[in-house]
């Protein structure tokens, strides 16, 4: 929808600073690798023929999972640090203003917009409340759950006394037993997968239909508004 009329004013705000953007894309990549390799750990590829010493397929898949897991975990810690030193929008991922009425009314408005019940979405410099809710619940809370269960599973192979065991070993009896931890970790993969499907769809849709830029914002950092109305 490019009317290209000279009267259309586009205001812009610098929202996502470079480290946050770099984190977003690194994180997106690591989560994609984690979900795919995780699925293949649960349901391995068809058997390879030949000698065992000819192949190391599961080994490589698991290695990719663990490498991506460390990138995800270190990235998460970095993102936490950036929330402390970054701008106000960098804090959104770790703070949900659920005590504010306004948050809920805007959330409802956003739901109605997606249900085609509103003519127009509202403008947001940061995340819209629906996206905000999903990001906090699934990426922050969900990510923490995946890291705790993931490192607990990792402690089983690194062994008693390893740092993974000392820090996360308690998760196993806390959840039940090893198989339970695996299955919750596995459920988490599906929840994150569904989040990503919705997230990518809404990012593209809103980029086209809403009154502001989205995808380019996560690339350049600037939020462009397509109109000057409030």
């Amino acid at each position: 929808m490019n009317t290209a009329l000279p009267t259309v004013k586009r205001t812009a705000v610098y929202v996502y600073e470079a480290p946050l953007r770099a984190w977003h894309w690194t994180n997106a990549l690591s989560l994609t690798v984690l979900a795919v390799t995780g699925y293949l750990i649960g349901s391995p590829l068809p058997t390879l023929s030949g000698e065992a010493s000819d192949h190391y397929l599961m080994g490589y898949i698991r290695f990719a999972h663990f490498a991506a897991a460390y990138i995800f975990a270190v990235g998460f810690l970095f993102r936490l640090y950036w929330a402390m030193v970054g701008n106000r929008w960098s804090r959104q991922l770790f703070a949900l203003p659920f005590w504010r009425r306004r948050f809920w009314s805007e959330l409802w408005h956003e739901v109605r917009w997606y249900a085609f019940l509103e003519q127009e979405p509202r403008k947001y410099i940061g995340h819209n409340p629906l996206a905000h809710l999903f990001m906090v619940v699934i990426i922050t809370v969900g990510g923490i759950v995946m890291m705790f269960t993931g490192f607990a599973l990792y402690s089983e192979q690194s062994g008693l006394g390893s740092w993974q065991d000392r820090w996360f070993g308690w998760v196993i009896p806390f959840v039940g037993q090893s198989q339970d931890v695996r299955m919750w970790h596995h459920w988490g993969m599906w929840i994150i997968t569904i989040f990503v499907m919705l997230h990518v769809y809404t990012a593209i849709r809103e980029d086209i239909l809403s009154r502001q830029s989205l995808i380019s914002t996560m690339i350049s950092g600037w939020r462009m508004f397509k109109d000057d109305r409030p």
Partner: protein
């Protein structure tokens, strides 16, 4: 009957030669993973320390732990250890019975207050005032609590005493509970398995008796030397796992070639036990070696963790059973279809509606820019 003889004296009285005794000591040292030099310590301990009595109680159980125990690989180990403990109380294998037998428990409690080991096989049921397990005319729970009151430490034999096992499986009609849920003031050593491996049992008990201290335990109270690693960590089929070579169906080519049983639901990756190193029946074999996956018999609640033949097992929450992959695939499919439909409607709406963007038309937006951070 309780004596202050040393272990060595007891063994000699039982007809065990000095040579056999020394062999036993070195075998035990090796089984415990101690240095060869420690064998001398074991010998010394056995010769000088008074024998510690062991009471062996039986609650709700199938007696598979006792069956396993008396089949300890090395006949020597079996004879020695049995001679060390059978003198006291074990209602399955002792000679005494009735009141005479119950009297032994009292006697040991009096004479060795705070100084005997209580070994428990099985567990107590709590429903119906414990009526589902009556020993000597009283609920097992009473006998257990009394015997535990003055003991030095408790050994929880098998998955029953450690976790609850089959009688505690859903829906657990008798409300059978593991030992640690009814005894809180004594150290408890869990030796899970259904049954535990004989050599593991004898080694644990020998360690306790000779060193008079509890072996190093993990977070959940299991001796680290036998339960510190998973079956999967020491499985001889592990190279096939790493290579990505699996049995896909029973009796397929992979099964004949001895590939990894992961896809057949092997629970080796989630089971802590010593089967893949110590093995069973005098070290002859263990389930995976015979071509069947591990069923996770030494893990908490293994009966209720879904099929023995799936890797991705059903999850039971709030009485609902669901499989992560089945639910996940359906959910992802549904969301995918919903996204496609939503995108179509969005596109249609946009085409059929004149432009509302730009400054030209205020529309119905009276709201402020939402910036809530």
């Amino acid at each position: 009957m309780p004596t202050t003889e040393t272990f060595y004296e007891v063994m000699r009285r039982q007809g065990i030669t000095r040579r056999s005794f020394l062999k036993f000591c070195s075998l035990t040292t090796a089984a415990l993973g101690l240095s060869p030099a420690a064998a001398a310590q074991v010998v010394e301990a056995m010769q000088t320390k008074p024998r510690i009595p062991v009471l062996w109680l039986h609650g709700l159980e199938c007696t598979c732990c006792s069956e396993s125990f008396i089949r300890s690989a090395h006949p020597l180990v079996k004879d020695v250890v049995l001679s060390m403990i059978s003198l006291d109380y074990d209602d399955t294998i002792m000679a005494a019975s009735g009141h005479q037998a119950e009297a032994i428990i009292h006697e040991i409690r009096e004479k060795y207050r705070g100084n005997y080991i209580l070994a428990v096989e099985g567990n107590p049921p709590l429903n119906q005032d414990g009526m589902s397990c009556i020993i000597g005319g009283r609920p097992f729970l009473e006998q257990l609590k009394e015997a535990a009151a003055d003991c030095k430490a408790v050994i929880a034999w098998g998955s029953c005493a450690s976790w609850g096992c089959v009688q505690a499986a859903h829906p657990n009609p008798t409300h059978a509970v593991p030992i640690h849920q009814v005894i809180h003031d004594k150290p408890i050593i869990k030796v899970p398995g259904c049954p535990p491996i004989a050599e593991v049992m004898t080694a644990v008990i020998t360690y306790l008796l000779t060193f008079e201290r509890i072996p190093e335990l993990d977070r959940q109270g299991r001796p680290k030397m036998f339960y510190g690693q998973r079956i999967h960590d020491k499985c001889y089929r592990r190279p096939h796992f790493d290579a990505g070579q699996f049995v896909e169906r029973w009796d397929d080519e992979g099964a004949r070639r001895g590939y990894c049983l992961y896809k057949m639901g092997c629970k080796g990756p989630t089971t802590y036990n010593a089967c893949s190193t110590v093995r069973w029946n005098n070290g002859v074999s263990f389930p995976i070696q015979s071509g069947h996956g591990c069923i996770g018999c030494s893990e908490d609640g293994f009966w209720d963790k879904g099929s023995f033949y799936d890797h991705v097992t059903d999850t039971r929450v709030f009485g609902i059973e669901a499989n992560a992959d089945r639910v996940g695939l359906v959910a992802a499919g549904t969301v995918g279809a919903a996204v496609a439909a939503h995108a179509t409607v969005s596109a249609y709406k946009r085409i059929s509606k004149p432009a509302t963007f730009g400054d030209s038309e205020p529309g119905e937006s009276k709201q402020q820019t939402g910036d809530r951070s």
